[in-house]
Amino acid sequence: MGLKKYISDIFYGVKSLITGMKVTGHYFVRPKEIITQQYPENRESLKMFDRFRGEVVLIHDENNMHKCTGCSACELACPNGSIEIISDKVIDPETGKSTKVIDKFVYHLSMCTFCNLCILSCPTDAIKMAQNFEHSVFDRSELTKVLNKPGSKIMPGIR
């Protein structure tokens, strides 16, 4: 009894190991059915999914115009203070009224959790998520960005 079980255990064990080896062997002789993937080095041709959340960017058109009114809705929606809107008051030379414009749209990429709440909260759709995924830099100060480009202006008609 004991010996019989001992021998059948050995056979069962060997059989179970071979079953497992069959699976790995299957992939070993068929390198086309890959298990692992290469790191995407083809950065130019790589197409990410549109909704992928890489970082917040302010949309600028070809005339260096953006849609941000400086209303700070995104700053309030952000759970961790990743966005700081520094705005100015300027006097419109034609009407003489003072209006708010953004001076700096500061974005701390290092604190952002990519929750998308700022994008949802923006009333003018001025910001969006970009698809780049490589964020490593040598100094962490580089992760604090000013999103409005130098000399950019607000698009006419946006209030």
Partner: protein, 377 residues
């Protein structure tokens, strides 16, 4: 004189002593920063004392200053492998407080994505479980299949792990046009691949020897320690929230609650593998019948819950997650408490591991499927 001393030493048995060692906080098989203080007698475990706090981020306290929309994304960072279910728990709790009618479409989509999350969590657990017991191969195979699910998430939700796809009242965006096709493709693919899991690991003689009869947990202990999820069900404790307190679309799908009675590591392993079959069954029933409609119910920009207490539980991949909100009619909760499955499951580790060898502790912890940020919050 010298001879006498030598003689007494031979006559008395050598004295053994209990001793302590630390496992973790930096240890590959604690899967995070968990420190276990082990009291050992030789190689036999006498006592396991978990020490927590290495990844405490005071999420519950942070919730007290955040708005209800902002709280949702914090729960991604608790049990990151079942982030969608965590989000859902908070959203359901807020919706319960507001007595909001949720579109049918949202309920069905939430259920499908929850089950996909459960699948991806169990795939990762399967890979890591094999690796803990010395089989690197399973790790790669588990991640290969999980990759397809993360792609589905990336396309529809915008992120691969911390998705934050739920908002109070519904979903952040509608599903992507490719969602149904991709999900169906994945189910057909994974139906073929799941038997490979059995061939590679479940029937492997080394694996079964190391898991059968190890880390025993009786049904009584499971109930008194509050061990839920597949770990509790493997001890015969029927605790599936989806069956007992159905939420979202679980009341209209047909699935089996997996119950094993052995209560050892192998039963917990089998419970999870069988759950993957059931999850696929749920997805198949729903994926072709997503009702048309809105993806979000109308909510105010500033959500204030009426004064009172609200509790909502969901079944995550690890067990029962409870969200308890005390509201004083402000825009953030007065107090918010998470009953996280990992914390309760870990509390039973001492009785499970007692009397086993150190190497068995690794197997026991693996089958508990601990996620440390969920324990610490």
């Amino acid at each position: 004189m010298i001879n006498e001393e030598a003689n007494t030493a031979v006559e008395n048995k050598p004295e053994t002593q209990e001793y302590f060692i630390n496992m973790g906080p930096q240890h590959p098989s604690t899967h995070g920063v968990l420190r276990l203080m082990l009291t050992l007698d030789g190689e036999i475990i006498k006592k396991v004392e978990p020490h927590l706090g290495f990844i405490h981020r005071s999420i519950e306290k942070m919730c007290e200053k955040d708005s209800y929309q902002q709280i949702v994304h914090l729960t991604d960072r608790m049990d990151y492998l079942s982030c969608h279910m965590n989000n859902e728990a908070v959203c359901l709790c807020v919706e319960q407080g507001l007595q909001l009618e949720i579109p049918e479409r949202v309920k069905v989509i939430r259920t499908i994505i929850s089950e996909l999350t459960r699948l991806s969590s169990h795939q990762l657990w399967w890979g890591v479980m094999g690796m803990d017991l010395g089989a690197i191969t399973t790790f790669l195979y588990g991640f290969r299949d999980r990759e397809m699910i993360t792609d589905i998430f990336e396309e529809t939700c915008g992120a691969r792990l911390t998705m934050n796809y739920n908002v109070p009242g519904g979903l952040m965006f509608d599903i992507h046009p490719n969602f149904q096709k991709r999900t169906k493709d994945f189910i057909t693919y994974f139906k073929k691949k799941l038997p490979e899991y059995d061939d590679l690991l479940s029937n492997n003689v080394i694996f079964t020897e190391r898991t059968k009869g190890i880390g025993m947990l009786s049904k009584e202990d499971a109930i008194s320690y509050g061990v839920t999820g597949p770990s509790g069900r493997a001890s015969g404790f029927s605790c599936d929230v989806r069956k007992h307190f159905p939420y979202s679309a679980y009341d209209r799908v047909d699935f089996r609650e997996i119950i094993y009675t052995e209560g050892d590591c192998y039963a917990r392993y089998r419970a999870r593998i069988d759950e993957m079959h059931e999850s696929m069954k749920i997805i198949e029933q729903l994926i072709d019948n997503i009702p048309e409609g809105d993806y979000k119910a109308k909510t105010k920009a500033v959500i204030k819950l009426p004064e009172g207490e609200y509790y909502q539980r969901v079944e995550t991949a690890r067990g029962e997650l409870g969200v308890y909100v005390v509201s004083d009619n402000k825009k953030s909760p007065y107090r918010l408490k998470f009953r996280s499955p990992g914390f309760s499951n870990l509390s039973a580790l001492n009785i499970m591991a007692k009397g086993d060898k150190i190497a068995d502790l690794v197997a026991t912890m693996s089958t508990l499927d601990l996620v440390i940020p969920d324990i610490d919050r």
